[in-house]
């Protein structure tokens, strides 16, 4: 079933002439405006729609946290799509900007917000222009009513995808995350109650109203309702966005839709939900996992922003880890010490591994750094580096060790340095061992 991609390439879909006049757009908005906000909200809740930005929190529930009453409330659309591997919002906004505008207006009505902003990343300059033009058109046709809606361009910082950092950026500050709670639903933009949702989440609002919340909940699995636009990229034949019902096998996405790895190679590992998700090895068992929030969580990863990055057997895992870690080092805002220092040292250690100066014990230290980042910062950027790196060490420890040995030999660094007995080393236990294997015996 395709809710977004059905005829998405129709020429002129970004204009009112096609979106409203031919395809019946904005009908749901006018219907919503006649309904009581509480009824709209209950439809959204009944749909079971979970946020598409990464955390997967139920959208209706989040909206219901906003206090009632007569005050300035805000809706912010998070269009700062910066998660490596994710490009669904870009395509959706570029091709169908009016659906987003309609969705924002419906969400604003549901929570009785009077101001709304679309925070779009600065790099998406041409997309922002398309959305702005659509917005002008909608305003001129008097479709969005009294809602004050503006497009706000960011200036390039991954951290601004985090909701509280986004609010700071929108308030004209450096994009540093805030301490939570208070959550934005209570105290967000300009200290007012704020609903923040991802582009794809908000685009679902008109569709939910059209179908009815309960009908929408029948799509997908019980706890992951609706369709999901999944960005597949990396070593595949046909990278792109594919819309699926949640719960299809991951293999279907990678092989049937995206065409599988290049030149019939094997998949070494894949990120199921953007670069922040722990990697899964390319085994049959993992590829047969249903692609939904809960199945991926059970397998030790996450759906995240719905971006699959495939790495084939020729990709050295150390290079992949280094690329990932360097990204987070560059994007760490520097506010919390564990993340600022942890990302930096992880890269330094990976570079040592790459050049052969490391010992296998460094893998343990690296995992312990990851352990100390997790949950100790204001936001999850540090965790987002720690999780994939720890999972790479877990699944591919042997390759890391072989890489060290090979580099050591290549650079003529002599024999391995004797290691401390790992049993005495107070590192984090289970995280370090390859699947099912017991502790590696200490080298003397």
């Amino acid at each position: 079933m395709q809710l977004f991609y059905d005829g998405i390439d129709q020429p002129g879909l970004n204009t009112l002439a096609v979106y409203r006049d031919e395809r019946g757009g904005y009908e749901m908005l006018s219907r919503a405006l006649e309904m009581d906000p509480a009824d709209v909200l209950s439809q959204l809740q009944a749909s079971g729609l979970r946020g598409r930005g990464g955390a997967g929190f139920a959208m209706g529930t989040k909206a219901s946290f906003l206090p009632a009453g007569n005050m300035d409330k805000y809706v912010v659309c998070n269009a700062d799509e910066s998660e490596p591997g994710t490009f669904k919002d870009r395509e959706l906004m570029q091709k169908n900007p009016h659906l987003l505008i309609e969705g924002i207006c419906i969400a604003a009505h549901a929570v009785s917000a009077n101001k709304a902003y679309i925070f779009i990343r600065g790099e998406y300059d041409y997309v922002a222009t398309i959305v702005e033009e659509a917005l002008e058109e909608a305003k001129a046709a008097d479709l969005i009513g009294a809602l004050e809606l503006w497009v706000h361009r960011g200036a390039g910082a991954y951290i601004c995808g985090e909701e509280t950092a986004l609010l700071d950026a929108l308030e004209g500050k450096r994009g540093n995350p805030r301490l939570k709670p208070p959550f934005p639903a209570v105290q967000g933009l300009y200290q007012g109650p704020t609903l923040i949702n991802n582009v794809e989440t908000l685009m679902n609002a008109p569709i939910i109203l059209r179908m009815g919340g309960e009908e929408f909940a029948k799509i997908g699995t019980e706890r992951s309702t609706g369709t999901k636009v999944v960005s597949v990229s990396g070593c595949v034949e046909r990278p792109g966005n594919y819309e699926i019902e949640l719960g299809v096998p991951s293999r279907h996405l990678i092989y049937d839709l995206a065409g599988g790895p290049l030149d019939g190679k094997r998949i070494k590992c894949w990120f199921p939900g953007g670069s922040s998700a722990p990697v899964l090895p390319g085994t049959d068992e993992m590829l047969d996992l249903p692609y939904d929030f809960d199945s991926l969580a059970k397998a030790g990863s996450m759906l995240g922003s719905g971006a699959i990055i495939v790495a084939d057997e020729d990709v050295p895992i150390v290079q992949l880890a280094l690329k990932t870690a360097k990204f987070y080092r560059h994007e760490s805002c520097g506010k919390c010490t564990p993340c600022r220092e942890g990302t930096n040292w992880t890269v330094t250690m990976l570079e040592r591994i790459d050049s052969g100066e490391a010992t296998p014990m460094d893998l343990d230290i690296m995992a312990s750094v990851c352990d100390q980042i997790m949950g100790n910062c204001l936001c999850v950027l540090g965790d987002a580096m720690a999780m994939p790196i720890a999972s790479m060490i877990k699944h591919f420890r042997e390759e890391f060790e072989a890489h060290i040995e090979a580099a050591r030999e290549r650079n003529d660094l002599g024999l391995s340095i004797p290691q401390v007995n790992r049993d005495d080393h107070a590192g984090p236990g289970d995280l370090l061992q390859a699947d099912g294997a017991g502790p590696t015996p200490a080298v003397v």
Binding site: Q2, R121, A155, G172, S233, G234, P239, A311, L320, F327
Partner: protein, 209 residues
């Protein structure tokens, strides 16, 4: 084993604060909000910034759009540009410098007029972005008009490896395309029209089976 101090390089990766290691002049008083009487601001720039300020309940929200406008006008966030924004927005230059240095798209050092951002993040590097970046650097050479920068994920992994040329997304690129990009930009033509993302049909629009 003696530790070689030169190998302990902190913040080498480029902290988000360029110039963090430059000495501060402690005798200098911090700059105040520039005096409108002595700070000429082009009327066009002032109008644009004031229009942005009117959009938000708190005028400070316009800082990023205003810096974008100033950077477009001046080429980079020069001290003059920041002073002009500060004057219109009634903020200190220090505040705006702090904002400008946080974001990757603002340059507080002189740069070429044409931005070429080459994505070198995970998906693009799996398709050869690092070689593309080197090719782009050598194609642009030392032409002062070009500002070639390797960028984190630009959100276009479907056309990996890709680049953003003055905001226009093009890809998938080969190393041979780099010379064409330089030529197109110099001639003022649309860049690599056939490879622009806005002309590309959605991969997922074909039916599921």
């Amino acid at each position: 084993m003696a530790i070689d101090p030169s190998r302990i390089r902190r913040y080498e990766h480029g902290s988000r604060v360029p110039g963090w290691d430059e000495p501060a002049d402690l005798t200098k008083a911090p700059a105040l909000v520039p005096d409108p009487a002595t700070t000429p601001v082009p009327a066009e720039l002032r109008g644009e910034i004031e229009a942005y300020m009117a959009r938000y309940p708190d005028f400070r929200s316009a800082a990023i759009p205003a810096l974008h406008a100033a950077q477009r006008r001046h080429g980079w966030c020069s001290p003059t540009a920041i002073e002009q924004v500060a004057c219109v927005m009634n903020l200190t230059p220090g505040y705006l410098t702090a904002v400008a240095t946080f974001y990757d798209m603002f340059e507080t050092q002189p740069k070429g007029r044409h931005d070429v951002y080459v994505c070198t993040n995970i998906s693009c590097s799996l398709r050869g972005a690092d070689a593309l970046y080197d090719a782009m650097l050598s194609a642009a050479g030392d032409d002062p008009d070009f500002h070639v920068k390797s960028f984190e994920c630009l959100g276009a992994c479907d056309i990996a490896p890709m680049a953003s040329v003055d905001g226009e997304y093009v890809g998938p690129l080969t190393e041979a395309d780099c010379a064409q990009i330089v030529e197109d930009v110099k001639a003022g033509r649309p860049v690599l029209e056939a490879k622009q993302i806005r002309r590309r049909p959605a991969a997922g629009s074909r039916t599921e089976d």
